[in-house]
């Protein structure tokens, strides 16, 4: 089955342009359904990002008195080190606290002027071994009784709730991406089938003069592949736009939880590349299957 390149190029080109409205309809169908899929991937990526930020979030902070003594510090440090419930422990000294403080109040110089480094407390950030709330509470209350400890501050319950919510929604979004891929496949198959139906006479003639099945199939698959690629290419713009919108929306919202929701451009490009692959694959496969219906007779 020797394919002449000029035959392939000419037939595929003619077929794409002979029925422009049908071609455009197919391409737009692909673009819309892959945009949906891209959006779902984008959201799941954003949720994933938030998850990662909260996964290792400190569960509680032990604030020391401002005039804490070295002995008191060491004693608390020892208790925490020896506790089987503590997974990770880090000491935040004055300078660190001060620079955090400066960062936090960067927009309010009046406040910054009021505070010197030696007016700030030191603290321990504790990541407990077990996520069990009871243990963490018990450990915290225990430490709070030690001398030199000002206060034990537990991680915001809301943040934990959001974290577990986003974990669940990440899975839902992946499922949505999968579902829109299936929808994309069905929609593409349908519009390609219409295109194939419009050319059933051509297929009939090819069969009668002795063209092989693959010879008949391949130009259609090439056409489907091209339409899939063009549609996927368009959908990348939609995904980029959506990410931009997320960026400015959550940026303006200034929400602590959602500030990282928009993903970096490289991630969007990665999603785009994936969409191109999906589009090409579904286009070629859809066309191949649609033609096969007319090949058996």
């Amino acid at each position: 089955m020797a394919f002449r390149p000029d035959y392939l190029v000419r037939e595929t080109g003619q077929n794409l342009f002979r029925n422009p409205s049908l071609s455009i309809a197919t391409i737009l169908t692909v673009a819309v359904s892959l945009s949906l899929m891209g959006a779902a991937l984008l959201v799941s990526q954003g949720v994933e990002q938030i998850n990662n930020r909260f996964k290792d979030e400190v569960e509680f902070i032990v604030w020391m008195d401002i005039d804490v003594t070295q002995e008191q510090l060491e004693s608390v440090d020892n208790i925490l080190q020896d506790s089987p419930f503590v997974k990770r422990l880090s000491f935040v000294d004055r300078d660190q606290t001060f620079s955090d403080f400066q960062e936090f109040f960067a927009d309010e110089p009046e406040i910054l002027e009021l505070v010197e480094a030696d007016q700030l407390p030191t603290s321990f950030s504790v990541v407990p071994q077990d996520a069990n709330v009871e243990y963490i509470r018990a450990l915290g209350t225990e430490i709070e009784k030690e001398s030199g400890v000002e206060e034990v501050q537990f991680a915001d319950e809301n943040i934990k709730a959001i974290s577990s919510f986003s974990r669940g929604s990440s899975q839902i979004m992946l499922f949505a991406a999968l579902a829109s891929a299936v929808a994309a496949a069905l929609l593409m198959y349908n519009s390609i089938r219409t295109a194939v139906f419009a050319r059933r006479r051509e297929i009939e003639v090819m069969r009668l003069v002795g063209a092989t099945k693959w010879f008949i199939r391949i130009p259609f698959m090439l056409e489907g592949l091209l339409q899939g690629l063009i549609g996927a290419f368009l959908s990348i713009f939609a995904v980029f736009g959506l990410n931009k919108a997320f960026d400015s929306f959550f940026g303006d919202l200034d929400s602590f939880v959602f500030r990282d929701f928009a993903v970096p451009s490289t991630d969007v490009l990665f999603i785009g590349g994936f969409l191109m692959l999906v589009g090409a694959f579904l286009g070629a496969l859809g066309a191949g299957v649609a033609v096969t219906r007319y090949l058996d007779a």
């Binding site: 089955m1 020797a2 394919f3 002449r4 000029d6 035959y7 003619q14 002979r18 006479r201 051509e202 009939e204 003639v205 090819m206 069969r207 009668l208 003069v209 002795g210 063209a211 092989t212 099945k213 010879f215 008949i216 007779a297």
Partner: protein
């Protein structure tokens, strides 16, 4: 060239079979008419020969091969040896005369040089040398049938099957088409043609196989319609 051994064929849900124990032996270079009333099985007979239909029983040999045993991937090769012409021409409206003819060579992977040489030659042969750039809707019925014959013959098949090729044409135009088929037959191509046209069958005086309700009731050399 073509041999049927008690071939039977019934379509699904059909009370009486379309063809019942048909026997026929057609030699290379013969010209055979298939005649009979509507529904007698002429088209079925032809469609069995290029494996558009499968027989229920019996054996069919084409060019020495038992095509009932033939695996489906070999069917394209069989069809490259069998040209087909129909009442409704089956031309592609978006292609010119030359492109319609060239299409038959291109889709079986013939090289460009062959296409460039054969297409004008065959268009000349069927009398359409000056209409090669016309589209089917710019041609008369007779001219369109010539294009479809050119397409069927351009690959020089051993056999040409024609299912009522003059069914849509007036008597004058039909005579021209019959002259063309006769010329093609004279090059050694075996021609099997189903026809309703008494006038044509009677003037050509070729072998006639008559079908009635799927049964071959007459097989006569230099025969007439009835």
């Amino acid at each position: 060239m073509i041999k049927l051994e008690s071939v039977s064929k019934a379509y699904p849900g059909q009370a009486t079979p379309a063809l019942t124990e048909a026997d026929a032996d057609i030699a290379k270079g013969e010209f055979v008419f298939l005649v009979g009333p509507s529904g007698s099985g002429k088209s079925t007979f032809l469609r069995l020969l290029n494996k558009q239909e499968e027989p229920d029983a019996g054996r069919i040999f084409v060019a020495g091969k038992d095509i009932a045993q033939m695996s489906s991937w070999k069917v394209p090769m069989l069809r490259r040896n069998i040209g087909s012409v129909f009442q409704d021409f089956k031309l592609l409206p978006a292609k010119t005369v030359a492109e319609n003819v060239a299409f038959a060579l291109e889709v079986i992977g013939r090289p460009r040089g062959v296409v460039r040489k054969q297409v004008p030659a065959i268009c000349e042969l069927v009398g359409l040398g000056d209409k090669m750039t016309k589209y089917p809707d710019q041609l008369s019925g007779g001219e369109q049938q010539r294009v479809s014959i050119a397409r069927a013959f351009v690959n020089r098949p051993l056999i040409l099957l024609a299912d009522e090729p003059t069914g849509n044409l007036d008597p004058q135009t039909s005579i021209g088409i019959m002259r063309l088929l006769d010329r093609i037959n004279k090059t050694g191509t075996t021609v099997v043609m189903a026809s309703h046209d008494r006038g044509i069958v009677d003037t050509m005086r070729k072998r006639v196989i008559e079908l009635s309700n799927g049964v071959i009731v007459r097989d006569q050399d230099r025969g007439v319609y009835e």
